[in-house]
Amino acid sequence: MILIKALLLYLLACGLGVADEAVLTEIAARLAKTPIAQGDFHQYKQLKVLRKPLISTGSFTYDQSKGVIWKTLTPVVSLLLVNESKLLTGQGEQAVPAAFGKVFKAMLGGDLAALTDGFNIAGTDRKTSWQLELSPKDEMLKKIISTMLLSGDTELRWLEIREAAGNVTRISFDNVTHPLQLTEEQEADFERLSP
């Protein structure tokens, strides 16, 4: 992914990153570089007050310029559309939670340039996989999210969000592909995000 590469260069230039520069360069080199990504997700949410996890599955679509479609299929069908400034759910337009629209889109697209604004990044790179740990700089976001873990190979495969309140969300991404074009349905969904 081109953007990750750009980001890493930026990090090196500014001396902002705390990640080992070699590691980040390697990770960037490994990631697939296309403007569109899609796949299935499996989300496992463990809330402190609940005895059992909330489990949902569905599909996602990432488009570099348009944002993200997050389509939950089980346990209830719902659609979430998000870009940097707008968030649409089944209950209408919502405020994009602190730095989240950007984070969400950036993680799926590997556009870590946007993430450096709000997070300290540390990383490790092994033969088969890499891992990044993000901790928010923003005081407000810190109150909600303590850390986020990303891991993958040529794709982002695994995301874990640890909330300050003790709740944990784990999302795994499967069957990731990189089509050249969006389907009509995807186009139509993104259309709803444009102002």
Binding site: L47, V49, T72, P97, F104, E163, A165
Partner: protein, 774 residues
């Protein structure tokens, strides 16, 4: 007039001016200058409660300044805004500068209202519960499973059904994106960090307004230099701009007419004494006018001073007549001169005072000030000429024939002849001109003409509105009821209709207290609704168990619900938790009536909204429309006033000089008025109430000129000089008003200028006739 005691009268004058100076010393040390545009408007005459609601509605609006710091990334935008915030705080202009989202306040509000969570339901939740409670459960699952449901998940422990979370979010219906606790808006190209500032005082003094303008300019430059963009808007900026342009105009008009008078007087008299004397007359007049106005009104509006500056040209008339008279006779002395000109001067003063008194009858504080200011200025200038000049002009004599006298004599002799020679063609031309102009005259009564902000300021305001639509419109609804319950019912009915209109996109948002605070009956209904649909039906228990709550948590929730049955939240308690914008919606209860306002945002179909005032207890308040219609009413009333003044002047002249002569003299103002109106038509100028007040002045000046020429007798040459000089100075003053950027000031100047030119052209035709007929 046999009483001629120059020394005694001069002493009188001196004593009077001394009193004025002493009074002035006291009055002008306080804050005496008014700059707010709203101070010019009449307060609502018929309904004091609407006036009160309007004041409260505007109070916050008039202090609020919205700043948007823009940049290519939100990070940069925020850093611009942070620097800006420091600057604003250092300026000490504002009592509140808000950049970070007031999180503590929200947490406090959450805690206070949480106790009443089973009584407080938003309209949407009410509807879902009543019709399809399973839908609520479904929406909860959707939210909890969503990758962004962290906030809701965090609330789940306290608020398992998430009904309070829904209520709390509905209280803040505008969805704003926060970054580092700062509101960030975006228009696809730029990111903007929002900063809200509130001025300490609704009515800023002139120097503070200047500081504000400089602050805006300086900050804009800084942000631009850093590669960003700064958008600033708010009522105070419009006020600041108005005050600034008024200040410029005062100096343009003041300096322009002073210079003109100096040049004219010097060219005519070639002596220092007339110059000093004229300045003395004008200066005393202006000083007295200012002091008396401030004493009478408490404060004087800056726009009054713009008109006041034009008074220089009018106040000068009396002095010039006296001085010019010295050319009328070889063996001239002040005693003879005064004796000759006093009747004309006095009649002139009376007709001028009458026309200004007409202005005083208008309901507009601004015009009342102008009327008193001008009347006092003229009166004191006249007194100075009559009381003081005889002493100071002792031994005054000219030994030259001024070139300008030759010119005006030539003009006075040949112009009437030329006119009389071509009278057929000229009268036809005049008739066509007047008829055509009047045909094209279209009245305009828009209050917005009072203020003419520059296009750039308006563009910025529009851009901000497109990014950030939180500032309410200046139109609103006033809702009342006999008691709180009645009021609540009335407002609820209105809000339901507004919701329908919102869905039809007639407006983008509305805000009424009853939407947030259910009254006591409603609170009980809400509780019963929850009990019936969610708690007693077992739906909540089912949902909580399915979701994975412990059995103890389910029991605890049921118990909390049962024990909260008798809770009620009073309106005052609710208001205490709300922010200022919501608090000011409540107008209070008194003498068997409770009232509130409903604020509206993004109105696109005002017609649909006005229909809602048929609802009980609902009044549509449109300040702009109300004042505009007031303008229209008073335009008609002022036309009557003009007619009355005309009749009065004709009658007065008729008694003194006979009916025939009265008609002759009055022909000058009649033609001037007609020409002035026709000019407005031909040039497509604004024709409103204010032009009519200007026409009152034209009437006064027209009568003056007619009178001077009528009474000139064998002193036509010196009269012609006096009238021409005074016309030129008046023209200069009002001509300069015509360049004003404020529409009404411009219209005023244009109307008077056209009228005076016409009067100047007509007046010499008068005396001549009487001479030739004798």
């Amino acid at each position: 007039m046999n009483v001629y005691h120059p020394k005694l009268t001069a002493g009188l004058w001196l004593a009077g001016m001394l009193v004025i100076c002493i009074l002035g010393g006291q009055a002008l040390t306080k804050d005496w200058l008014e700059t707010s545009f709203l101070a010019l408007l009449p307060s609502n005459e018929q309904q004091p409660e609407i006036a009160k609601a309007t004041r409260q509605h505007n109070a916050l609006l008039n202090r609020k300044v919205v700043w948007l710091a823009g940049a290519a990334t939100s990070h940069e935008a925020i850093s611009h805004a942070q620097k800006l915030k420091q600057q604003l705080e250092q300026s000490r202009l504002f009592n509140k500068v808000v950049l970070e989202f007031p999180q503590q306040q929200y947490i406090r509000q959450y805690r206070q209202l949480f106790l009443y969570r089973y009584q407080l339901l938003d309209a949407q939740t009410q509807a879902i519960l009543a019709t399809n409670p399973e839908q609520l459960i479904r929406q909860n699952l959707e939210m909890l499973n969503s990758p962004i449901g962290q906030m809701q998940a965090a609330d789940l422990e306290r608020d398992p059904s998430l009904i309070f979370s829904r209520y709390f979010n509905a209280q803040n219906p505008v969805k704003l994106n926060l970054e580092q606790g700062i509101v960030v808006l975006s228009d696809r190209q730029q990111f903007y960090a929002l900063l809200l500032a509130e001025l300490q005082n609704e009515r800023l003094q002139l120097d503070k307004l200047e500081i504000l303008s400089n602050l805006v300019d300086g900050a804009t430059e800084q942000v631009n230099a850093a590669g960003g963009e700064l958008l600033v808007s708010g009522m105070p900026l419009f006020t600041a701009h108005g005050a600034e342009s008024a200040k410029q105009e005062i100096s343009t008009v003041g300096i322009g007419s002073s210079l003109g008078i100096i040049v004219l007087l010097w060219a005519t008299f070639r002596s220092v004494r007339p110059l000093l004397l004229s300045s003395l007359a004008i200066g005393s007049g202006l000083l007295a006018a200012l002091v008396i106005c401030v004493l009478f009104f408490g404060k004087i509006h800056i726009l009054t001073l713009v008109f006041g500056a034009s008074l220089i040209g009018v106040a000068d008339d009396y002095a010039q007549h006296f001085l010019c008279d010295s050319f009328g006779e070889q063996d001239w002395n002040p005693r003879k001169g005064l004796k000759f000109i006093l009747p004309g001067l006095t009649l002139g003063l009376i007709s001028n005072l009458l026309s200004y008194a007409g202005l005083g009858f208008s309901p507009f504080p601004g015009l009342q000030e102008v009327a008193l200011f001008s009347a006092m200025g003229l009166l004191v200038a006249w007194l100075t000429v009559v009381l003081l000049f005889p002493l100071l002009l002792t031994g005054f004599k000219f030994d030259h024939q001024p070139g300008i006298l030759k010119l005006t004599s030539y003009w006075e002799q040949h112009w009437p002849l030329w006119v009389s020679k071509h009278r057929r063609g000229l009268s036809l031309l005049l008739t066509v001109f007047i008829a055509g102009g009047l045909w094209m005259l279209t009245p305009q009564d828009d209050v917005r003409l009072l203020q003419s902000p520059p296009a750039e300021l308006l563009r910025t305001a529009d851009k901000i509105r497109s990014l950030f639509s939180m500032s309410p419109d200046n139109r609103f609804f006033l809702v009342s009821g006999q008691d709180q319950a009645d009021w609540h019912q009335n407002e609820q009915r209105l809000l339901q209709r507004l919701d329908m209109l919102k869905q039809q996109k007639s407006l983008t948002a509305y805000e009424g207290l009853s939407g947030y605070w259910p009254d006591v009956n409603r609170q009980q209904q809400n509780y019963r609704l929850l009990k019936q649909k969610l708690y007693d039906s077992g739906l909540l228990e089912h949902y909580m168990t399915d979701l994975g709550f412990e059995q103890t948590a389910v029991k605890a929730e049921l118990k909390q619900f049962a024990s909260a049955e008798s809770n009620t939240l009073a309106l005052m308690e609710w208001l205490a938790t709300a922010d200022e914008a919501k608090q000011q919606l409540w107008l209070g209860c008194d003498s068997g009536r409770c009232q509130s306002t409903v604020a509206l945002t993004g109105i696109s179909d005002a017609g649909a909204l006005t229909e809602l005032q048929d609802l009980p207890g609902v009044v549509w308040v449109d300040q702009v429309e109300a004042v505009s219609s007031l303008f229209a009413r008073y335009r008609i009333r002022a036309s009557g006033l003009l007619l009355a003044a005309f009749c009065l002047a004709s009658l007065g002249l008729g008694f003194k000089f006979g009916w025939r002569n009265s008609v002759t003299i009055m022909s000058v103002p009649v033609v001037s008025l007609a020409v002035s109106l026709a000019m407005l038509g031909w040039f497509g100028q604004l024709f409103s109430l204010f032009n009519l007040f200007a026409l009152l002045l034209v009437l006064g000046i027209g009568v003056d000129y007619g009178l001077f020429f009528f009474m000139a007798g064998d002193r036509r040459a010196s009269t012609s000089l006096g009238v021409t000089l005074s016309a030129l100075t008046t023209l200069l003053a009002f001509g300069l008003l015509a360049i004003s950027s404020t529409e009404i000031v411009h219209a005023f100047g244009f109307t008077v200028t056209a009228g005076i030119v016409a009067a100047l052209l007509c007046a010499p035709l008068i005396g001549l006739k009487t001479i030739s007929s004798e």
